[in-house]
């Protein structure tokens, strides 16, 4: 016989942040609390490498302007105007790899870094100029010869490897599950061949939409490779809240976006649970929460506006106990290892470089 007195359940007496009503429905989205409890602290002197999809550009800028030591292994040439530097892929991430949208793209980059492999097939042509198919936007007018393009890529891989060898924290924003790949080699590209350079050939190129298992395995392998390069490296993963510009999946783009983001979010959850050195920051949740009613998006309902970016970064910095003005509570304003000289001008700008948005031109 059971008592009619209610026994406590695991849901009894939980803090307000554990209930939807008190945590979300009745809370102003700017005031939501306990969204993120860092697994590990990131110090201002920790060397941070930033990579990922377009949204990661905001992360890198915000961290730099807050005094974190964001690495820049391929700095822009002296005297180059910031806007021009950005056009050529400088200062956007910690090296000139451009946007890395998928886990497979990251894994490919790491494999190539470790092996130093540069293949002729890695290059696309347009108007007689050569483009690195893995980062076609960093040279907007391409390069003169295949030999030159290969030399650039070889050097880039060396720089990325050198960057990883000194990285304490690797921040990666997962952006997409959809990609285009070379059927014969399985190589994936950040853009569909033919969008920036190269030629689309239905006999050679195929659409690929990764599932959760594939993305998880790619990320586990990527982590393994990164740890082999630098055993002390720790990871902070985020999911881009930016919806797909277009989908080739055959589904409505909203449905395709939900699939893509769900897969990526689930993978981050798995990685978070599996590895002590992997943390997850919920920038995705902060932006897409129903309580925001979309006000963190630009009118195109796709790009995250500066208020959204600022709020994401404020939440991150607060959780990491760093004041937004750039003075650390923990590090007494100590400058990071990679912070030298005056602040970069690009930190005051909010534009991001996003090849995926080019697809809109084809809409």
């Amino acid at each position: 016989m059971t008592s009619d007195r209610r026994a406590p359940t695991p849901y009894s007496n939980l803090p307000p942040s554990r209930y939807w009503r008190s945590a979300v429905a009745e809370m102003h989205p700017l005031d939501m609390e306990e969204l993120y409890s860092p697994k590990f602290r990131i110090g201002l002197t920790d060397r941070i490498a930033v990579a990922g999809s377009c949204f990661a550009q905001h992360v890198g800028r915000a961290l730099r302007s807050s005094g974190f030591s964001v690495l820049d292994q391929e700095p822009a040439p002296d005297g180059l105007a910031p806007q021009m530097a950005e056009t050529f892929g400088y200062g956007i991430y910690s090296a000139r790899y451009g946007n890395i949208y998928t886990a497979r793209q990251l894994l490919q980059l790491l494999h190539d870094c470790v092996s130093g492999t540069v293949r002729e097939a890695d290059f696309w042509m347009r108007d007689g100029r050569y483009y690195d198919a893995h980062r076609p936007s960093v040279e907007p007018k391409g390069l003169e010869s295949l030999a030159e393009a290969m030399a650039h890529r070889r050097q880039h891989l060396g720089k990325v490897k050198a960057m990883l060898e000194t990285t304490d924290i690797f921040i990666f924003t997962l952006g997409l599950t959809e990609t285009w790949q070379d059927i014969a080699s399985g190589t994936v590209y950040p853009t569909c061949p033919g969008v920036i350079a190269g030629t689309f050939d239905a006999g050679k190129h195929a659409f690929k939409n990764f599932d959760a298992e594939e993305v998880l395995q790619d990320m586990i392998e990527a982590r393994r490779l990164l740890k082999a390069i630098n055993p002390g490296m720790r990871f902070l993963f985020t999911v881009s809240p930016v919806p797909l510009t277009a989908t080739a999946s055959g589904q409505n783009v909203l449905v395709a976006t939900t699939y893509s983001k769900s897969v990526l979010r689930a993978v981050c959850g798995s990685l978070y649970g599996k590895f002590e050195d992997v943390d997850y920051f919920p920038s995705y949740e902060i932006i897409v929460s129903p309580s925001t009613r979309g006000f963190f998006y630009e009118p195109n309902m796709r790009s995250v506006n500066r208020h959204g970016v600022n709020h994401v970064m404020r939440t991150f910095l607060k959780s990491q106990e760093v004041e937004v003005a750039g003075k650390s509570k923990r590090a007494n304003g100590q400058k990071g290892k990679a912070q030298k000289g005056k602040p970069r001008q690009e930190e005051t700008r909010g534009d991001v470089v996003c090849e995926e948005a080019l697809l809109e031109a084809f809409a």
Partner: protein, 263 residues
């Protein structure tokens, strides 16, 4: 057609002034020279159509070289800006770390640590950016806007070919003296023309150059300082003599003759 010409520049104007002495008998032009050496050339203001000194030092040189306190631009048919700090070696300083593939020796192309590779398009942009921001470009732009009938720019002499005889510690000098010299000089020349306009720039005649990248050492020997009396030190590879100045002036006059009547 005789013209009233005002030449404004840094120490490199010395060679032109001495050159003028050699050739003035064969020209009817009236030529004035303002020379303000070194960084003091920055201390000029161009206001209301007049060039004035903004420091005691530059004021002293107005008096010493021009014999006047200011330059009223509209009193001249042509104003010629000379040197003013824009030079091949300075413009190429970026090559100490960043170089296009074509400017890296074939033997060093596999050494990924020696230089950061940049594309030819970006390198051209870097050079153009430097030229756009240069004092020389600011001066010619401002003078043209403030009433000068015509403005020309005479480039700073290319370094003496004597640099080939002496080991160069400066990698940029080494680049200019080496196999890539003609290519870098050509890129520099293209960038100046692109930024300032081909019709505004006067380069030294081709026959005073070696490989298009250096000035024949005959023209650097015996170069004199702005006072026209003391010689530049023996290791000076950048200042030229009166013969050079005369040839450059002839190139300026020839350009003006080609555009006679243009005001």
């Amino acid at each position: 057609m005789a013209m009233k010409i005002c030449m404004i520049g840094n120490s490199h104007i010395g060679a032109l002034k001495l050159g003028w002495k050699q050739i003035r008998h064969s020209h009817r032009h009236e030529v004035s020279f303002l020379g303000v050496p070194g960084v003091q050339i920055r201390n000029l203001a161009i206001e209301h159509g007049t060039v004035v000194p903004t420091s005691d030092h530059s004021r002293k040189y107005f008096e010493k070289t021009l014999g006047a306190e200011s330059i009223e631009l509209d009193r001249y048919d042509v104003v010629v800006v000379v040197g003013c700090g824009l030079n091949l070696i300075g413009a190429l300083s970026v090559t100490g770390r960043w170089r296009p593939y074509t400017l890296v020796d074939e033997t060093a192309r596999d050494d990924q640590t020696q230089f950061d590779l940049v594309s030819d398009r970006l390198f051209a942009e870097i050079l153009s950016s430097k030229i756009r921001k240069s004092l020389a470009n600011r001066y010619i732009t401002k003078m043209a806007r403030q009433g000068a009938a015509r403005v020309l720019y005479v480039t700073t002499p290319l370094p003496s070919s004597e640099i080939r005889l002496k080991p160069q510690e400066d990698p940029v000098m080494d680049l200019v003296a080496g196999a890539h010299g003609p290519a870098v000089a050509s890129l520099y020349r293209d960038a100046i023309e692109q930024v300032m306009g081909r019709d505004k720039v006067v380069f030294p005649p081709a026959d005073v150059l070696v490989d298009g990248a250096m000035t024949d050492m005959r023209y650097s020997r015996g170069s004199l300082r702005l006072d026209g009396k003391r010689e530049h030190p023996e290791d000076d590879m950048h200042h030229m003599n009166a013969d050079y100045g005369a040839l450059v002036l002839e190139a300026v006059f020839s350009r003006l003759a080609g555009a006679a009547g243009v005001r």
